[in-house]
């Protein structure tokens, strides 16, 4: 392992790596991100290795496990280079055909290509798929180009050149100036300008300073940071070292949640590799700048995503937030100035230094520059990671990139900002994605979770869901958060179970106001999911309270299942599959649900053949009396 003790040596090493790459040599890249691994990517990679060996092609064809390209819905994703053929939902059984057809005979395996659901047209290359075509993938695109476990791959695409540039061609003030000019705002939630924290820290007299990566991605439904840290850990590390140089810190931490085991492995590996090459540690690249970094695993606490709680956890304590009347940038970990930015923010720093602030600001809006990665999930056709310039509308993301709502259902709302955010209705879909615009609409950018909901999602239940989440995730230190959440959850549970009363909505609003006195941002923002659903979906609350009706037909206690005697064909499917044995059926006898026995699991509704469509969900009205025995016999 050669130590890269000068910028020249770094460039030499890079040239050497690039010269050994033959661009015409076939390469099979399989996404080895968590999503694809869950869909069986490891088995696919293994199958490729065996198959290539069988054909004696191991030396002629490379195989690579890459980071997440974002299209998780269609995983495992396989890319064949140099043609850039993109195969979706590849199974180990498909591998033999891919090797014999595509690798050996240069022919396509048609059935594994993307098919446009609207036109029926097939797309061969990734860039032809609408999901990708409508994105601006400044950061995510690198994930695909490298083996996430290889520093050589990262060096080959220009890795650590931004660090070299910062250390040798820029003063710390110039680095700071470039970040300030880029107007990079924190990607983790609040959207606080990154340079302000940096400057505050730099100007603090304390000589011991820290820089920290917040990879405690706790928002349920968000996995951007996971994909970045798993897929391209060196880019995060490089951004962090650059930040440390600008701020004057010599020690850093990466706080990553233990629920992301692959991220923990890959970042630790990256740190080791960077250390071995002289890109971390003493005298980095011969510049005289020293910096070391430690990985701290989060042990499972959402509140630790809050900066002061995260810092308390780094000190080895229970992650309770601290009052931030003095900023953590001045008094953070062990009371030393500490700059905390999230994963995506650090990844952006690398690009800003490498390509310049002017390049960065050509994307996005004036107030919100650059691109933002969202995890587009829920009731949406194309789920996965999406990177778009700030300022595009929610409608474009949902319709153009996401491909709309599946199953012919109606869009109802999109939830952004996680448990601190809110739900945005159809009428607001032309809102540009921008830190300030989303806040005005009663939600927030948050870290980038975007959960799409359709007509089957009950908005009162969503509010209840988030409060239930927060009830366990609040640290419990201050009264407004701990008790306010407890009481709001009780009211919401009552409403969704048919025990709502007049005045409940007003009570929720009053409780929400009192959480404004909470100690940290998590507590203060806890009522947002409640307030935003009241603001846009008040009629759903009222239907639950007054008519004991769940308009989305989702709240178990407020719905009933009924078999329409005119439609039932006595096929017996629901009768056989009902786990509660609540259906009375029989050959040529119209089936009837015993409402006493029914557990409302919905199995009958799911399994009734669509051509009959005999099972109905009912809410807010009495269940029709069962058809009299003598009329049940069918002709």
């Amino acid at each position: 392992m050669t130590m890269l003790s000068s910028p020249e040596k770094l460039e030499c090493a890079r040239k050497d790596i690039v010269s050994r790459i033959d661009p015409t040599k076939p390469c099979i890249s399989v996404c080895a991100g968590a999503g694809c691994l869950a869909s069986g990517a490891a088995e696919v990679i293994a199958a490729f290795k065996t198959e290539l060996e069988f054909h004696g092609l191991t030396t002629e064809v490379n195989t690579k496990g890459t980071g997440c390209p974002g299209f998780c819905e269609r995983g495992p994703i396989v890319m064949i280079y140099p043609e850039e053929i993109c195969y979706l939902r590849v199974k180990p059984e498909d591998v033999a055909e891919i090797v014999s057809h595509t690798i050996k005979e240069k022919k396509l395996v048609d059935r594994l290509l993307y098919v446009d659901p609207a036109t029926g047209e097939k797309a061969t290359r990734e860039s032809d798929i609408p999901f990708y075509k409508n994105q601006q993938r400044n950061i995510l695109s690198e994930n695909l180009r490298i083996d996430s476990k290889s520093i050589d791959d990262y060096l080959a695409i220009g890795g650590y050149s931004a660090l070299s540039k910062a250390l040798f061609q820029m003063s710390p003030e110039e680095v700071m100036g470039e970040v300030k000019k880029s107007n990079l705002r924190g990607r983790g939630g609040g959207g606080f300008p990154a340079w302000r924290k940096w400057e505050e820290s730099r100007n603090a007299p304390d000589p011991i300073k820290y820089v920290i990566v917040n990879a405690d991605e706790g928002d349920p439904g968000a996995f951007m940071d996971r994909a970045l840290i798993e897929g391209n850990p060196h880019s995060i590390l490089e951004g962090l070292i650059i930040g440390a140089y600008a701020v004057g810190a010599h020690e850093g931490f990466i706080y990553v949640r233990q629920e992301y085991p692959l991220a923990v492995i890959n970042i630790n590996l990256a740190i080791r590799q960077a250390g071995e090459r002289g890109l971390l540690g003493k005298n980095i690249l011969g510049s005289g700048f020293d910096f070391t970094v430690k990985v701290h695993m989060g042990a499972g606490a959402f509140v630790c995503g809050e900066s002061s709680a995260l810092m308390t956890a780094l000190e080895g304590r229970a992650g309770e937030p601290r009052p931030k009347y003095i900023h953590t940038a001045v008094k953070g970990v062990w009371d030393h100035p500490s700059v905390l930015n999230n994963v995506e923010t650090w990844a952006n720093v690398t690009q800003i230094i490498s390509k310049g602030a002017d390049w960065f600001t050509q994307f996005g809006t004036k107030g919100s520059t650059g691109t933002k990665i969202f995890s587009l999930v829920g009731k949406i056709t194309n789920t996965g990671l999406v990177e778009v310039p700030m300022g595009v509308t929610l409608r474009d993301i949902i319709e153009k990139v996401g491909g709309g709502i599946p199953g012919g259902k109606q869009f109802k709302a999109v939830q952004t900002g996680g448990p601190s955010g809110g739900c945005i209705p159809e009428a607001q879909l032309d809102l540009p994605v921008d830190f300030d615009e989303l806040t005005k609409a009663g939600s927030m950018m948050g870290s980038g979770g975007m959960i799409v909901m359709d007509e089957d999602t009950c908005m009162v239940d969503i509010a209840r869901y988030f409060l239930d989440f927060l009830k366990d995730e609040s640290c419990g230190k201050c009264t407004p958060c701990r008790e306010g959440i407890r009481q709001m959850l009780k009211v919401l549970t009552n409403i969704t179970t048919g025990k709502g009363k007049e005045g409940d909505v007003e009570l929720l609003e009053e409780l929400a106001e009192s959480t404004g006195a909470a100690l940290c941002a998590l507590g203060k923002s806890a009522p947002n999911p409640v307030l935003s659903t009241i603001r846009y979906f008040r009629e759903e609350y009222e239907a639950h309270i007054r008519q004991k009706k769940c308009p989305a037909l989702s709240c178990k206690e407020l719905i009933a299942f009924h078999i329409d005697p005119d439609k039932c064909k006595a096929c017996g499917t629901c009768f056989r599959q009902c786990p509660a044995e609540a259906i009375d059926g029989g050959k040529k006898r119209i089936h009837v649900i015993d409402q006493e026995k029914c557990t409302k699991c919905g199995t009958c509704f799911d399994v009734c053949p669509p051509r009959f469509g005999a099972v109905r969900k009912i809410s807010g009205e009495p269940v029709p009396a069962p058809i009299p025995e003598e009329q049940r016999a069918m002709a």
Partner: protein, 150 residues
Amino acid sequence: MDIAKIDQIIENHNGEESSLIQILLDIQSEYHWLPKEALARVGERLQVPMSRIQQIASFYKAFSLVPKGRHEVHVCVGTACHVRGAQRVLDTVQDITGIGPGETDAELKFSVETVNCLGCCALGPVMEVDGKHHGNIAPSQIASVLNNCE
């Protein structure tokens, strides 16, 4: 309980007090719970009061103060999974194992937990059994997954 093993874990973290959470995570991953003797040893070696260890061990979700079953079943109840029917998955797991979230059965076969997000949101609902993810899982497939556990 092997005290030498605990000492080794503490050594791996240079016996630093600030590494308390990291040390407890290592013990948890070794034993699948935090035995009392281990906690006492950690307190003694790091010079940390038991009240702080107890608070940490009960504050963070990764830790368990009681022994866990041989198979750990995690049902993701993140928002994406929630809107795609995670509750039905959880109900089914509960029916099959007879235990609810946070519980371990009497034979120490299964422990069931809910988790707030496994980060595989595109595949929801997701269930994880002994570290293996099962994406887009339908309630009807759960029995066969769990029956494969010995």
